[in-house]
Symmetry: none
Subunit: 214 residues, 4 copies
């Protein structure tokens, strides 16, 4: 009955199972949204029994919250690696803009998950204090960069770092989030490599065109 498994092996499995569920749920929620996601499919994708999902995550909504938290900490960690403080103001802004574009490209699930959460009026993360003030440090850093640029005369003054941050995100996010309908409307494949490069360059132009003092 009892096979000779070392005691920590079970805990390993527990952790591994939770990660498998989380990974599967991330995909499922990203593909189908919260309402469209199926617990059965998550279990199948994770290669685990459905009951286990309830064992570890209580219910579907709570699992969705966990997925959101994981996704938030993912982008937070990535942003922390940017080290904008060590860069020249214009370079810092360019780097943040480029990073944002690429991060969304590499993490398409981020976009649909946030859209789902907003469809549900941010219900799942409003209680999660962990997320509050996440990017505040980034905003502070960006404020520093803007101030440095203003002082040295390369950037115009009066730029609100939060608004700028949101604008940088907007220009990448919207394009990728709405790629299907936009491609449809304009009759062009907006996610082709060529169009991606064009958009990416345009975004930097817009942001720097706004920030840089002429």
């Amino acid at each position: 009955m009892s096979s000779p498994i070392p005691p920590d092996s079970k805990q390993r499995d527990a952790e591994r199972s939770q990660k498998a569920i989380l990974a599967a749920a991330t995909l499922e929620f990203a593909e189908h949204g919260l309402a469209g996601a199926r617990v059965d499919r998550i279990a199948e994708r994770a290669g685990l029994n459905k009951r286990l999902i309830y064992y570890y995550f209580t219910d579907k909504d709570n699992l969705f919250t966990s997925v959101l938290e994981a996704v938030y900490s993912g982008i937070r960690e990535a942003e922390e690696g940017l080290r904008l403080k060590d860069l020249e103001p214009i370079e810092a802004i360019r780097k943040l803009t480029d990073f944002t574009w690429r991060y969304y490209i590499e993490h398409p699930e981020f976009i649909t998950l946030l859209n789902s959460e907003n469809l549900h009026k941010g219900r799942h993360l409003s209680t999660s204090e962990r997320v509050q003030k996440v990017n505040m440090t980034l905003i502070e850093t960006l404020g520093d960069v803007l101030e440095r640029g203003r002082v040295s005369g390369v950037l115009r003054g009066g730029i609100d770092p939060m608004q700028l941050y949101i604008s940088i995100a907007s220009l990448s996010y919207f394009y990728q989030s709405n790629a299907y309908t936009l491609s449809n409307i304009f009759g062009r494949e907006l996610m082709s490599p060529r169009m991606q490069a064009q958009r990416s360059a345009h975004i930097v132009d817009v942001i720097l065109g706004y920030c840089v003092k002429d």
Copy 2:
């Protein structure tokens, strides 16, 4: 028992019923997404029998497609009323930017409906030819404006009208679409009148900062 019904308030009016269903469905899909929407609730909201929805719209997916088509033609008609051609280039761009912000504010359903459609990879409107080339006239008009501005020296050259249009949309759309999560992250109520005004002004600054030649 017999209430005095005026002759024009026909109880049996196919067109009116269809419109009622469409209006109810627009709200329901906007609030809950395609998967989260409930046909029962749509019927209730329309004050009509559920069966009638299937009678006129075949099934839920087709109803969603009809809603999208109505919503697209709504913004198309509004854009047609802009008359950008008669305006000075800078004023034209400012007007389009302002219009975009306000249109999304006044039609919040537009945003969530488009998000739903994109979650479903644009499946519903890819077959709908009506939508193709919708905004193409607007893009052409915007190209005209940009060219006029370039010639008269007030706008910089080399601006792609489609990219510009997408950027104008981005800066408003993303902010409103993600207002809940952004408010959460930044700990501020981004949809307060004060913040709305601030955002709206920022967007014009960004767009004109990019377009206007110094």
Copy 3:
């Protein structure tokens, strides 16, 4: 508003409409059975409004009864044209057997309609007195034939005409009614022209083999 239609034209249309409904219903019931038949499809097939079906036939069950009655009178009339009395006994039996095979072939709806009625325990025609004693004249005729044959020595005695009639019907009906499952079991297409001819000949052999005195 009122076009100059002769008064009897309307009655013509009434009769024509009823016939169209009956014909459409016959097909629909034959193809899908009573439960599987759709009133909508019958109306569509008849090219008439659904409401008219209820106007003329009250409801689905009653329509089914009407179809059965029409179908019964169809075979009754055909049988009346056989004139077995004028034939030599062996020829009479051969003719009835052949006729039965061919009638089912040419009226496949007859088989499935009867199957449906029997699935419903003959509920629809038990009240219909018109059908009672339909084939009784045929049985009497067949009894005559058998007696003539017995007296002249070509047929064996003691044959019950009703049992014989049922057997003649059985051998054709079952084969055609169960053609799909039988073809499946035996891995042969039982309704191919070749197999039909073979079956038809076999049936005559069986019936005459039983009746004819050696």
Copy 4:
């Protein structure tokens, strides 16, 4: 609250549940046909939750297929127990004929289920390979019997065993399948014990009258 359930009457027994569903479905489909059968009633008859039917059998059509397969293997097993090889040719044919009559009497569901399947053009079992070649061994055995009889001079030659088998089935099947309409037409209760005995004797007479050499 806690009733004394014996250990072997497990409340959670997959196999037992499936059998209960199958048994209930057999009755329901036999009584009402495929279209007329109600999944609710099947669940009720099985004393199980409706959901479980879909859990084990995917959908109504697949459940119907499973029922047909079970019913086919039922008659196959019974036929295998006949041991016609060990009998004298005439006795073998008589036994098969008797068996067929009785099998249908004892398994009335067999008839209506096959009728339903044929109404649906054999769709459910055309894909089921298991049924193919079911009775082939029986046909071979019957061919043997006929050959033995021909050699020994008691049976006439040139009899196709498949046609004979179908005829044997026809004479019983049709009578029972159409008992309601036939009783109606002839004004006699064809399924009374007396009439049953008469029919059974008649069938043997017909089959042997055809096969036996005079």
